[in-house]
């Protein structure tokens, strides 16, 4: 079972497979560095779209031989993004990754009905795996980036994506905590009804072989002493593998708080697409981007 992001990389390496990454408007130093590391480790190759002179000069500044990458000449970010999407659509790449293009333009190209990467009728969402020193293993969170106020259908989709990721990590029976402000369902909290419905669905086997409970707070989900202190009985018992959040509003500061104040790291992906989509903010570190590339290769 994978319990850290480095173990996740090892799992990708053990598979012995190499995946092709198409990088949209690849003029970003951290992206190029992360890719060169993935190429060096042998689990990825990269096709970059953008202005070759710029890409080569970023490579040179970073001390990287640009010949390890394929570069396709595009003179603007829209064309470069569309081309990267096309490479994946047509089977010339397995994963798409964002370079310096803005998130809006990148997602727009991916969500394009005719030329994009969406699975028809699917829900676009973000699934992230977090490693933080204060927790004994990885946990998967959703959704800190895409769906502001998920309805039941969206929460169910988010949960399925998270379960798929947990399976890829070798977690056979993931423990899913439905996160709220308290363990008591209440009409004050709009997530309560959805959570109760999800528990019913789990009982009917709609999520497969998983453990699910909620609503519960972060302590009950992640602190092994908490259920004793609170006197609340739950099979999650402070050992959650997956945290489902009621809103982007709560998930986003949760994840950022962990990154900034608790020395956390995240690797995440957009789900609901034909092939894995790497989406990271431009300010992400090289290491985070590297983990994302590995995760995308694991999820292909």
């Amino acid at each position: 079972m994978v319990t850290s992001l480095d173990q996740m990389v090892n799992k990708v390496l053990e598979s012995g497979k190499k995946h092709r990454i198409a990088v949209a408007w690849a003029h970003d130093k951290n992206t190029i560095r992360a890719l060169s590391e993935a190429v060096r480790k042998g689990f990825a190759s990269a096709v970059m779209t953008g202005i070759p002179g710029k890409i080569i000069s970023v490579c040179r500044d970073a001390g990287i031989d640009h010949r390890i990458f394929s570069i396709i000449d595009c003179d603007n970010e829209d064309a470069a993004t569309r081309l990267a999407v096309k490479l994946v659509r047509e089977g010339d790449a397995d994963v798409i990754m964002k370079g310096l293009v803005s998130t809006d333009k990148y997602l727009k190209a991916i969500m394009d009905k005719e030329n994009g990467l969406m699975v028809p009728g699917s829900i676009l969402s973000y699934t992230g795996a977090i490693e933080v020193p204060a927790y004994h293993k990885l946990f998967i969170i959703t959704d800190c980036a895409v769906i502001p106020y998920p309805n039941l259908k969206q929460k169910v989709a988010m949960t399925r994506y998270a379960i798929e990721m947990a399976w890829k990590f070798g977690i056979e029976k993931p423990k899913i905590a439905l996160v709220g402000a308290s363990e008591k369902p209440s009409s004050h909290f709009s997530y309560s009804a959805d959570y109760l419905e999800m528990l019913r669905m789990r009982e009917e086997g709609e999520f497969g072989d998983v453990i699910m409970d909620g609503p519960m707070d972060i302590f009950l989900a992640c602190d092994r002493n908490s259920s004793t202190i609170k006197g609340v009985n739950t099979f999650i018992g402070g050992d959650a593998d997956i945290l489902i959040f009621p809103s982007l509003e709560s998930c986003n500061p949760f994840y950022k708080g962990l990154m900034l104040f608790a020395d956390g790291k995240i690797a995440g992906l957009i789900r609901g697409t034909e092939k894995p989509v790497v989406l990271m903010s431009r300010s992400e570190t090289e290491k985070s981007k590297y983990y994302c590339i590995a995760l995308s290769c694991l999820m292909v």
Partner: protein, 300 residues
């Protein structure tokens, strides 16, 4: 002045007049430990209201020397709460503290129309967090009291908090209104409120502080993140007070900082006639002690 750590609270209250601390249903080991420490440090003059025999037994078992401490024997919990609240109402107390009694029954007495502690202000929860990775203490409101505050409530919550910060020695504290994103988005009410609060502050409708929002968590607490996003703001990266959009978000953030970032916390309920210490069972004795100090400072 700005608090660097929670231990700075002691400097603010030490040497001042002892505050009368009324403890409702004081037969609670964790509360008593903190109360007696604050008493021995000459910060408070406690009046313990509750089951005298039980209180004496707990003190004996823990070797607390309580010679000279006032105990009002009231074995019935409800009656102890009423007596405590009425004493504060009759100006016999500067701070009210919850002992072994449920939060809701204490608040019910506090809000009693005849002899309660209403002032016409909204009650709100105010917490100070100390995390290693932020250069100063950060105040957070409201993570525990108001479930889904509207704009008027948010103004009241800011006013309560700013008055408290001023009593702690702050001048023009910097208030970040938290959102999942830093852009105003018409589909996210919290961002609209944030924009209104910022403008109301510019127009002096909310005084004695500098408000900016919406700010995502990373922009609020990190200059680097704010710069990456090109945000021009006096508050970004230097936040003194972080306003939560609702309790759902506040609860998750507060618990994740405590559990994952090992944050130290002191908290108080503001807006009643006196500060109320309303810590929970899971808070450490240190957190309770720091909360008493915070309340003593807030009762100036």
């Amino acid at each position: 002045m700005v608090l660097k750590t929670l231990s700075d609270l002691k400097g603010i209250v030490a040497g001042g007049p002892r505050k009368k601390l009324i403890v409702a249903a004081a037969q609670d080991q964790h509360s008593l430990g903190a109360v007696i420490r604050a008493w021995q440090d000459s910060i408070v003059e406690p009046i313990l209201v509750g089951d005298q025999e039980n209180i004496r037994n707990i003190c004996a078992a823990n070797n607390y020397n309580i010679d000279g401490l006032t105990i009002i024997n009231e074995p019935d919990t409800e009656a102890a709460v009423q007596t405590s609240v009425k004493m504060v109402s009759n100006r016999q107390g500067d701070i009210l503290m919850k002992g072994k009694v449920g939060t809701s029954s204490l608040l019910k007495s506090v809000l009693n129309k005849e002899w309660g502690l209403r002032t016409g202000n909204l009650l709100s929860h105010f917490a100070l967090f100390e995390v290693e990775t932020y250069p100063k203490v950060i105040a957070v409101t409201d993570v525990a009291m108001n479930i889904a505050p509207n704009l008027q409530d948010k103004i009241a919550i800011i006013n309560n908090s700013v008055s408290c910060l001023i009593k702690l020695g702050y001048r023009m504290p910097k208030v970040a209104v938290l959102g999942a994103v830093e852009m105003v988005n018409e589909n996210m009410e919290a961002t609209l409120d944030a924009a209104l609060l910022s403008k109301m502050n510019q127009r002096d409708q909310i005084k004695n502080c500098i408000i900016d929002g919406p700010l995502a968590f990373d922009n609020a607490v990190s200059y680097e993140s704010a710069q990456h996003k090109g945000i021009r703001s006096e508050v970004a990266g230097d936040t003194d007070l972080l306003l939560m959009p609702d309790i759902e978000v506040g609860n998750v953030l507060y618990k994740s900082l405590v559990f994952f970032a090992k944050a130290k916390v002191a908290s108080v309920i503001l807006g009643a006639r006196v500060p109320i210490v309303l810590t929970s069972r899971s808070d450490s004795e240190q957190a309770k002690y720091d909360s008493i100090l915070l309340s003593a400072a807030a009762s100036k």
